[in-house]
């Protein structure tokens, strides 16, 4: 009996998603709840687990396709699994002296065992087109198990590990450490199986499954010219739309896809290729890291796109500090995490965002997209540069949960293990320059968001209260916003509301 794999409900405002990546191929065995496919929405990326155990008999939505909630993604079948089991037992039998029929099966299995499996740079996010080869965890000639990480890649946004698609022996490593590789480029070749014992029944299973349901690429045979172009431009044949007979890819289709890819590359504003000037004796030339390049590019993009300006206010931190002072120990004892200022700021912002929804919106062409979810990016400085992990649905989280999440982000940002999806899809950002002692700054928007709050250092300053000069712990607040959709009134009101929420945290409690 076949089970349908459907797009799960993705959240209130989300009605569709893009297929980011199939983690399984047609014909592969899957266990119930094993992740099958990664979906990307404007909010988050989610993995869809297998609804049952069996064989992924059909993939009906390709990578890159946009699917609606509840659309069928594929099917899990049982029949092929049986076939696979049969094949498996045939594979075992083959150790005994081979008879006529068996030698055939043996030959088949050998062919499978000798199969070369290519390891290619996976698609890791919509905007990521290339990566740098970080470290090879395996050498040529090493044995690897299926799904064992063999190489780490660094992309603009995160580093990731590429697992072996099949068990076997690494026959060839095609990209050296430090080399820049494009998505789809060849990283290594694995001779599937290698020595029979270690290869387990995996290849046999695959062989059976392949016969039962050919892999998508096998269903789309390439004629010679498109094959060359797809190879040369490292295109994904599944993503090239075929206009030939029965949807075959013609040379024209492949050229168009190659052109589109080239075009995309050309559009990405690379740092100006200034002629490398001579470095003086007391100068040092260092290549910008990918992360640094990306930061540079994105900041500049934000400046060029948005009508950005900054409004300021100050906040008296007495109340928050008093509250924190009083409950610090109790809080830590109960929640196992320190009570910092950040959670207050996140909550104060979420509150203000609800009142001024433009600040939580983005411009898309001639439309404004209002986001009815509050995913707050928290800028974290690392020795490699600034990263902005996102606290999802911050409105629904407790102060303790937010504190715990931020602490975890900070730790993982520093050791580089933040995942790409944890840094995508924020709706608003908070940047705390105060930790470095900043008095006042004008933060740059984190595009395509429309607002970013700048926090600064807390210092005791004389202020007038009820006609008296008193000393209070004060902090300047800055809100940079995109004046295209946020009016001055909205921006100022937003900041005043943040200030009020912090000066009188009970407002948060009362939802005022």
């Amino acid at each position: 009996m076949a089970t349908e794999i459907r797009v799960p409900a993705l959240g209130e405002s989300v009605t569709e998603a893009t297929i980011a990546r199939w983690l399984k191929k047609e014909g592969e065995n899957v266990a119930a709840d094993e992740p099958l496919v990664e979906l990307e929405t404007d909010k988050v990326s989610v993995e869809v687990p297998a609804p049952s155990t069996g064989v992924l008999s059909k993939i009906s939505a390709k990578e890159g396709d946009t699917v609606e909630v509840d659309a069928v993604l594929g099917m899990i079948g049982e029949a092929a699994a049986k076939a696979a089991r049969k094949e498996k037992s045939a594979g075992k039998d083959e150790k005994a002296p081979a008879g006529e029929g068996r030698s055939k099966a043996g030959a088949k299995k050998q062919a499978v065992a000798g199969r070369t499996v290519e390891v290619r740079v996976p698609q890791s996010g919509e905007s990521v087109t290339e990566a740098e080869v970080g470290e090879w965890l395996k050498k040529e000639g090493d044995r690897v198990e299926a799904d064992e990480p063999i190489v780490s890649l660094e992309t603009d946004k995160a580093s990731m590990e590429v697992p072996a698609p099949a068990a076997g022996i690494i026959r060839k490593i095609a990209a050296k450490e430090g080399e820049t590789v494009e998505v789809g480029a060849l990283l290594a070749e694995i001779e599937a199986g290698g020595d029979g014992a270690a290869a387990k029944e995996e290849p046999a299973l695959r062989a059976a499954a392949e016969r039962a349901a050919p892999a998508p690429s096998a269903g789309k045979p390439l004629s010679p010219a498109p094959r060359r172009i797809i190879g040369e431009y490292a295109l994904d044949p599944a993503a090239v739309e075929g206009t030939g007979k029965d949807g075959r890819i013609t040379k024209a289709d492949a050229l168009a896809a190659a052109k589109a890819k080239d075009g995309a590359k050309a559009r990405a504003p690379e740092p100006a290729p200034a002629p490398a000037r001579e470095t003086g004796p007391r100068e040092e030339r260092v290549k910008m890291s990918r992360l640094r390049q990306t930061i540079a590019r994105r900041l500049k993009e934000a400046q060029q796109t948005a009508a950005m300006l900054t409004t300021f206010n100050d906040v008296d931190m007495s109340a928050v500090m008093a509250l924190r002072g009083e409950y610090k120990e109790l809080f830590e004892k109960k929640h196992g995490v320190k009570l910092g200022f950040m959670s207050f700021f996140v909550k104060a912002c979420v509150h203000a965002l609800k009142e001024i929804p433009e600040v939580n919106a983005e411009i898309d062409g001639t439309d404004i997209i209002y986001k009815n979810h509050y995913d707050i990016g928290v800028a974290v400085g690392t020795d490699r540069g600034l990263v902005v992990p996102v606290v999802r649905d911050a409105d629904a989280k407790s102060l303790a949960a937010i504190e715990a999440e931020i602490a975890d982000f900070g730790r993982r940002a520093r050791d580089g293990s933040l995942k790409l999806e944890e840094m995508q899809g924020g709706t608003f950002t908070i940047s705390n320059g105060g930790v470095y002692g900043s008095l006042l700054s004008t933060p740059i928007l984190n595009a395509p968001q429309s607002g970013i709050l700048g926090m600064h250092r807390i210092e005791e300053r004389p202020v007038a209260r009820d006609g008296q000069v008193v000393v209070r712990p004060m902090m300047y607040l800055a809100l940079s916003y995109d004046h295209r959709i946020v009016d001055g009134k909205g921006a100022v009101t937003f900041l005043v509301r943040v200030k009020e929420n912090l000066e009188d945290p009970q407002r948060l409690l009362l939802d005022l």
Binding site: P224, A225, T243
Partner: protein, 467 residues
């Protein structure tokens, strides 16, 4: 009698439609009016098949005396037994028409001999030679009545001295001088037959080139080859009239644009200026099936202007070729059966079965120029092909036209031995939307003539390797 579909005409369009109908489980009847009660239409009876029988035999006859000595074979005293040659032709026709009868039975198609007339939509009256009529009804009627020889004004065909292609297939002796009116496929093929069998052949063509619908370069080269073989040509000329004398025919030939006529003596005149749709007696006017001013039935994917009446093959627009009619027939039945029948007229090959052959598919260079399409050309001459060279058959060339930007193959034109077989590769590639590079990167056996196709394809992008 009631059927799902009645097909009028048992030529390649009709009989293939009938077979497909049978395959798809439709109850079909086919109506054929040929008096000798032979199926197969013009193609089998008086067209493709008998002409190929004579072309093949006459070609071997000529080779025996003209080409074998160069290969070290002495075939002395080669002589012509025309009777036997005509007989083997008739036997080939007989065998193949029998084959069609068998196919009708195999696919449970009822055959009715007599002329079919559409009385009204859904009703066909078959008038047999004996005067008896049979009424057949069906939801769908397919007109597959084909085409007939286009007459030449002022020249009456008697099928003895002034003949059409039909008469030219059965001349009792090789004429001393055969004048062929029309430099198209039929004229050049039958002209070749009789030239090989001993006739002096003069082709009179109205236009300034032979094979006027083919690629200009092909016409030019092929003209040169035929002239070398001894065929004479009067281009840009027309036949104003033929005077029948007792011992000879006096053919008045004058310049196409008018001017002084000149008289050529001939024994036989072959009128081969083309064919026209054959729809007389079908009752089209009465049922309201629309035709254009030249008599072609107007269709939209084989649907005529009358619901339930369909038309295919030579009597509708598109190339007048047996294989085109076949494909029409299949597609038409599939549409009737609710399937997605379709014929791609850009991928219909056209072959001239002379020696050497001429074959083409897709667009000509002239057509591309006129349509303003940016294209690239690849050429390869058989004189540089090893197989052609070793066989002493180096006449001709392969020419491939491809889109300048996408490299998609738009046309292929071949003059050369076996061109009719070689063209199949290009037809497939065009049908699949392939590029010249697809041909260039496909392995071709060595040594074969097909390598010339590959080298020409390489030439499109400038990497011909063997010239």
């Amino acid at each position: 009698m009631t059927y799902d579909v009645i097909i009028i005409g048992a030529g390649p369009g009709g009989y293939n439609a009938a077979i497909r109908a049978g395959q798809l489980g439709l109850k079909a009847a086919i109506v054929e009016k040929r008096e000798n009660k032979k199926l197969g239409g013009t193609c089998l009876n008086v067209g493709c098949i008998p002409s190929k029988a004579l072309l093949h035999a006459s070609e071997l006859y000529e080779a025996a005396s003209a080409r074998l000595p160069a290969l070290g074979i002495r075939a002395e005293k080669v002589s012509l037994d025309l009777k036997q040659m005509l007989k083997q032709k008739d036997e080939a026709v007989e065998a193949l028409t029998k084959g069609v009868e068998f196919l009708m039975k195999k696919n449970k198609v009822d055959t009715f001999f007599g002329s079919g007339e559409i009385v009204e939509a859904g009703k066909v009256r078959v008038a047999g030679a004996d005067g008896k009529t049979t009424d057949l009804t069906a939801k769908h009627i397919i007109i597959a009545t084909g085409s007939e020889v286009a007459p030449l004004r002022g020249v009456e065909i008697d099928e003895e001295r002034i003949v059409s292609s039909t008469g030219a297939l059965s001349l009792s002796a090789a004429p001393k001088h055969l004048v062929v009116v029309g430099g198209g496929v039929i004229g050049l093929e039958l002209g070749s037959v009789w030239r090989r069998l001993g006739a002096k052949v003069t082709v009179v063509e109205f236009l300034d080139r032979i094979l006027p619908t083919m690629d200009g370069e092909v016409s030019k080269q092929f003209l040169r080859i035929l002239k070398k073989q001894g065929m004479a040509f009067r281009l840009s000329s027309k036949v104003a009239g033929v005077e029948k004398l007792k011992t000879k025919l006096k053919v008045a030939v004058e310049p196409a644009e008018g001017g002084e006529a000149e008289t050529i003596d001939a024994d036989v005149v072959l009128v081969a200026i083309g064919r026209r749709p054959h729809t007389a007696g079908l009752g089209l006017d009465r049922v309201g099936v629309k035709t254009d001013e030249r008599g072609f039935i107007l269709t939209d994917h084989f649907r005529t202007s009358v619901e339930g009446i369909w038309a295919i093959g030579d009597c509708i627009h598109g190339p007048m070729l047996a294989h085109k009619a076949e494909d029409d027939g299949v597609a038409c039945i599939e549409l009737i059966a609710g399937k997605a029948g379709h014929v791609n007229y850009d991928a219909v090959p056209n072959v001239v079965y002379t020696w050497p052959e001429v074959a083409s598919v897709g667009k000509t260079e002239e057509e591309l120029k006129e349509a303003g399409v940016a294209y690239k050309v690849g050429r390869f001459a058989f004189s540089a092909n090893s197989r052609a060279k070793t066989n002493h058959e180096t006449d001709g060339f392969v020419k491939i036209l491809a889109d300048a930007e996408t490299d998609r193959v738009l046309g292929c034109h071949i003059v050369g031995v076996d061109a009719g077989e070689l063209i199949a590769e290009a037809v497939s590639v065009i049908e699949f939307g392939g590029a010249s590079e697809d041909i260039a990167r496909t392995c071709h056996a060595h040594p074969t003539r097909s390598e010339a196709v590959r080298q020409a394809a390489m030439g499109v992008e400038g990497w011909t390797m063997q010239a």
